[in-house]
């Protein structure tokens, strides 16, 4: 029981990560694959942020009378990663739109079929 209380953050991360992983490998639709990758990415964000949590710590903004702060480093890494993540997701979606224009489909199996026949 104590293990559940002290490690539940990792299990939330693993669950989310596996949901994302499952979508990426099981779905043939490219948009769905990108959604899966996004969920996967979010789980990594949570992993980082939760590792920076300090029990009893405050948000990392210096103030008189507060001695314990959460670790600011993961926050920095993740807030930039979120913005970079949306930019790269947009790039992926743009690729999907171009694939749709070139192949007329965004199903992985149909794209591979057309590649082999050509």
């Amino acid at each position: 029981m104590t293990l559940l209380l002290s490690h539940y953050n990792y299990w939330v991360v693993v669950t989310l990560m596996m949901i994302g992983f499952f979508i990426v490998i099981a779905q043939g639709n490219l948009v769905k694959k990108l959604v899966g990758l996004n969920i996967f990415q979010t789980s990594v964000f949570i992993l980082y942020i939760s590792s920076g949590k300090v029990t009893g710590g405050s948000a990392p903004i210096l103030q008189d009378g507060i001695t314990s702060y959460s670790n600011p480093l993961p926050h920095v890494l993740i807030l930039t990663a979120i913005v970079v993540g949306i930019a790269t997701t947009a790039l992926g979606l743009a690729l999907v739109i171009r694939i749709k224009k070139a192949y007329g489909t965004i199903e992985e199996s149909e794209i591979q079929q057309r590649d082999h026949t050509c």
């Binding site: 002290s6 490690h7 539940y8 953050n9 990792y10 299990w11 693993v14 669950t15 990560m17 596996m18 992983f21 490998i25 099981a26 043939g28 639709n29 948009v31 769905k32 959604v35 964000f45 942020i49 939760s50 590792s51 920076g52 949590k53 300090v54 029990t55 948000a59 990392p60 903004i61 210096l62 702060y69 959460s70 670790n71 600011p72 480093l73 993961p74 926050h75 920095v76 993740i78 807030l79 930039t80 990663a81 979120i82 913005v83 970079v84 993540g85 949306i86 930019a87 790269t88 997701t89 947009a90 790039l91 979606l93 743009a94 999907v96 739109i97 171009r98 749709k100 199903e107 199996s109």
Partner: protein, 282 residues
């Protein structure tokens, strides 16, 4: 988890930008998908095994909120204890982002800029002027249009507040850029991409996106010319702490400009694609 800056960014990105991009893509590529059976079960087995292994791996991880965990004992105590004297601003996240790890952030801004160029290359932005229809049916919804008209100015104002208050409270260039872009995107949804491009032209956005990165990089060069290292702001003024202040304000401005311009540009690209495909169907 006390991550106020991250919460800010995620709220703005998650509500303002990413779902819209997803929806626009789905509108472009069609919402029907082919069912492919036979892949779920092997995938499920693989995922279960991987998940189980990862859970076993987490058992030896430090507990949640443990103050002496390796992640919290390496460089962070220095940031927390020294940043008040070295950088002199209350928000530690901003001082780490802009000063201690300024080089890292420069890389991130360059990645955002590159992704913007990539989208622009893949989805060409036609010169505006063709009177194409509004991208959605939102044109007819009077209530939504009026409410959005009321909301857009406070959103833009709030973005500027977040930008310039980032040293004292949660905020900074990344958050402000995303919030500002969300405001312009809201305008684009309701009044169409052509009207939005008359307000904020795409040529201006291209210049601004490059200008932000340049501003960031040139701060680094100026500090080199003053005899310091690349992005070492302490040499920018007589007093090192004042120098840090100047450096952080300028590079946060560069980050904010680039992020806002790239996000808006990406949205324009997607929205004008939807317009084009609507025209070809007619």
């Amino acid at each position: 988890m006390d991550a106020v800056d991250v919460a800010f960014t995620e709220a703005a990105v998650g509500s303002g930008i990413s779902p819209l991009l997803m929806l626009l893509t789905v509108a472009l590529v069609g919402r029907k998908e082919k069912h492919n059976p036979g892949r779920s079960i092997p995938a499920l087995i693989l995922v279960t095994i991987t998940g189980a292994l990862l859970v076993i791996g987490t058992l030896s991880m430090p507990e949640f909120g443990f103050a002496d965990a390796p992640a919290n004992t390496h460089v962070s105590p220095r940031y927390i204890e020294q940043s008040a004297d070295e950088i002199g601003i209350p928000n530690i996240v901003t001082s780490v982002l802009a000063s201690y790890r300024g080089f890292d952030t420069f890389g991130e801004v360059a990645v955002v800029f590159t992704a913007g160029i990539g989208v622009l290359t893949l989805l060409t932005l036609k010169p505006s002027g063709s009177q194409s229809p509004v991208i959605s049916g939102a044109h007819q919804h009077k209530i939504l249009r009026i409410v959005s008209k009321i909301l857009i100015p406070p959103i833009l104002l709030f973005a500027l507040y977040v930008q310039f208050h980032g040293e004292y409270g949660p905020g900074g260039g990344f958050q402000a850029g995303v919030i500002f872009a969300a405001g312009i995107i809201l305008y684009t949804i309701f009044f169409g991409v052509d009207l939005a491009r008359q307000v904020v032209s795409s040529a201006l956005l291209k210049i601004l996106a490059a200008f932000g990165v340049l501003l960031y990089g040139s701060v680094g060069l100026v500090s080199m010319l003053h005899g310091g290292d690349f992005l070492d702001y302490s040499v920018l003024a007589e007093n090192p702490v004042t120098g840090q202040h100047i450096g952080i304000i300028i590079i946060e401005l560069g980050v904010g400009i680039t992020v806002a311009a790239v996000m808006t540009m990406i949205f324009y690209c997607f929205a004008s694609q939807v317009n084009n495909s609507a025209e070809t169907k007619e």
